[in-house]
């Protein structure tokens, strides 16, 4: 099981290194950021929307950080 997970991780790493993935990531997060303004009625869950946006933003930063490390490692290798 561990081996399979590692293999999947390696495949994901290779995908993350592709420029095309960055386009997808950008579009995906654009949709995520806009989603509350399409789906949730105004002022229905104000605190939840704030938490949602900041959490989504933070997750985007974490992914960018990981890609940055990965690219650095890849370039080093």
């Amino acid at each position: 099981m561990y081996k399979e997970i590692k293999q999947i991780k390696n495949i994901i790493d290779v995908l993350l290194l592709k420029d095309e993935f960055l386009y997808l990531l950008s579009v995906f997060y654009f949709l995520l950021f806009s989603w509350p303004f399409v789906a949730i009625e105004n002022m229905e869950y104000p605190v939840a929307i704030v938490v949602y946006l900041f959490f989504t933003w933070f997750s985007c930063i974490v992914i960018l950080f990981y890609i940055s490390r990965l690219r650095k490692k890849f370039k080093k290798n």
Binding site: L25, I40, N42, Y45, P46, F58
Partner: protein
Amino acid sequence: MINVQTVIFSVLLYIGGMFLIAFIVDKKVAENKKSKLVNNPLIYSLSLAVYCTSWTFYGSVGKASSSGLLFLTIYLGPTLMVTLWWVFAKKLIRVKEKYHVTSIVDYISGRYDKSERIAFIGAVVVLLSTIPYIALQLKALVSTFIIITGFEDKPNLSEVKFLVAWGTVALMGLFTILFGIRKLDPTERHPGMIFVLAIECVFKLFVFLCVGIFVCFWLNDGFFEVLRKIPEVVPNEYSFMGHQDGGLITWISYTILSASAIIFLPRQFHVAIIENYQENHVSTASWALPSYLFLINLFVIPISIVGISLGLSSTDQYVLTIPYLHGVEFLSLLTFLGGFAAASGMIMISTMTVATIITNHIYLPLVTRATDQRLFTRFILPVRWICAILTISASCIYMQVVGEKYALVSMGMISFTGALQFMPLILGSIFWKKGNKLGAMFGLLSGSLIWFYTLYFPTFIKSGYIQSDILEEGLFGITLLRPESLLGLSGIDPLSHAVFWSMFFNIGAYVTISSLFKRSQSEEQIVNEYLNLFEEREDFQAILPETAETNILLIGKKKIIEEILIRYYSELEIESECTKILDEAKVLNREMVNILELSELRAVFENKLAGLLGAAVAHKVVGASGLLNVTERNNLYKYYSDTLAEYSISPSELHTRVNFYREKEKLVSNQYQELEGLVDLRTNELIERNIQLEKSIKKINTMREQLIEQEKQASLGNLVAGVAHEIKNPLNFINNGSKAILFKIDELSDIFLKGDFDQIDRLEIVDSFEDIAISSELISRHGERASNIISHMLLLSREKGQTKEYFNLKELIYKNYQLQLTTFKDKHSTHINEIIRMDEIGDMFGCPSNLGRAIYAIFENSFYEFSKCYEIDKEFIGEIEISLSISKGNIKLVISDNGRGIPENMLERVWEPFFTTKPSSEGTGLGLSITYESIRIHNGTVKVSSSQEKGTEFTIVFNNCDIKQNDKVAS
């Protein structure tokens, strides 16, 4: 209220401190060009946070108070854009490095055929879009100064505002000139200024977090407690807290604008591209900049909610007024300085960029038309200073004219929309080869005009300086020309409206005209050069053909270069600059050059000038200089056409081949990347497997050690149990026997004490003596047995301690065999059939006494079996076979008999100490254990095979024996 003198002193102290830092950093970097003080990704990322101006510092809270979460788009957009920086920011950096790009306008002009017109339009757009932005910084500074010094309620407020505004202009002008406009070449980096920007960014973040913590944890019970107040303090229809009419369009417009602003705002372009030291720094900035933006926005909503709940009026100043109203003067002063840091960083970098752009793309193209250019061109640096002062002054006027009516954010968004006009041209330059000068010019012009008309112009109308009917009725009374409902488009906010129409015309004109008209030859060449850079193609090394004649005098060309340089540099600098250019073109100290070398010299010179004047002016100046005159140009063309003719290739064929090889190169590059990815994947897998294997081996070793330990413990347990059992039996007999003797002695004592023995007494005495004799015999026999066991055990324990020597194994075997045979024949009158086949193997190195006991034990077992068989069957004839041989240093000894054999289930246990099938009086069970141990320490193995009623065979093999030839073998 804080004393005016204290505030001014703090500001001056802050500026002085920053200037000192900048001075020290500049000095350090000048001393050591490879210094990592500024050339590091962290400083680069922090300097990019100049994006967060006083608009962020004050305006975000203001925007959050009026429009909920809409302010977040200003920071979410950059996060999305930074994601793509890996793709295109690196390409822009490469172009900057190669062509000495000085600004965003210079980049566009350079890419689109070094067009002066595009540069001019771009310069005007930059100037117009920067003015509101600087104005909003000034507005923030003035208004916060008024609040913190308590001038709000004073009757002379307008005079104070005027004084503060123009005082700030003077201070900022001086600040900008000292920090950023000290050098002539704008492509030279400004390490001191960038370092100061980074420090300012850290400072404003720190202050903002302090205010946020003060508001959430000092005035309230925590972050989420404040958030829970949202429904209480704002009305239910509070905007941008979820879905509402038109909200999504505004949200998307803001996101697009801010995404473009993070790189296409002139100052952002300058910091991100022009001041960049290494492409790789972009990688760190991709996460560090969004992290900064995340942190600086964390407390915006809580501050806004607390400000609203306190009933404060000016939403833009909540960050300052909340600590100020609570009497925390130190925090208020710190906040003011944080806002000052945010504003001063932006003003400094923006003014510097605008001054360079105006000088290079408006002033210089105009003066190059003058007959005596030198009169104007010698003073480029002072002209830049004047431009800087004028830009800040214009911003101050704009603030006084428009600023009072507009919120900070609205003013900022005007600038963002202006910067957006550069986006199609720059992205087109990277991703669309067909984009050309004409398309770019019309695209930029139309987009900028629409931006000005729909967004910029209405600010003056709303401020009351222009007739207000235009907004309602349209220009010349034509309703389709209403600035905020152009061509009848209504129902969306003015900003989204301006974004839509400006982009519609900009992109539309750029794409349509570029598709309709072909690029010029020179533009074609530029596009190819840019593509080479984008795709990281390596420059081909120029191979000088023998056919190119070296017939051009360099001294004349050097004079032309000097004549041009003298317009911009002092006479002292000319010689060194000229030497640098000749050296870079690899023609230094040459007298004559060929046409190709001259062409290269021209390119290097133009590149050098581009760093000073911008690509367009440099191209024009060098073109007009006669560095490559008409004859030489014709010779260059002739040379190229001759080269083509020599290879018998038509131009179209050449294009086809070049394209083919480029495609091929691209394909190979892609495959290489794929392979690298796969190799990386496999390497990772192998590393993982290796780690797993190492873990398994470690686990196995641990288990083996545990097993050995368990075996040892078990063996020890068995040994102890065996010893206990074997010794206990004789001891029991001895104990019982001695007790019985004592009992009998007591009985006898009683009889003897009586004195008078009758017949019965006599019989009892006799019986008692007989019992004592029997008991004594038992004691003696079992004592002997115990002694025997102990002796065997001592032998077993001494096996390893015996000294080793060369001995004759064959003789040893035979001697032990004879010993047993003699003993057997003494007891039994029967015959033994013996088959003895023993080779002469020489002398073996080992312990003869040990091995003798081992062999003796085997023979003892065989003859014991013969005895038992004989007792059962008097006709039994024992058969014993002994064979000894040697092969490749390995000695093999086989002893077999035809006894009763060993039951199969007992075969495995014959080597165990104290295991025996004999009655306890006849064997201790240690014989074969001693055999096993003795053979083992002689590097040998022993195996037993047996079948019941047929016999037993012992096979002993001594491996790699040390054998010495003796006389018998030799004979």
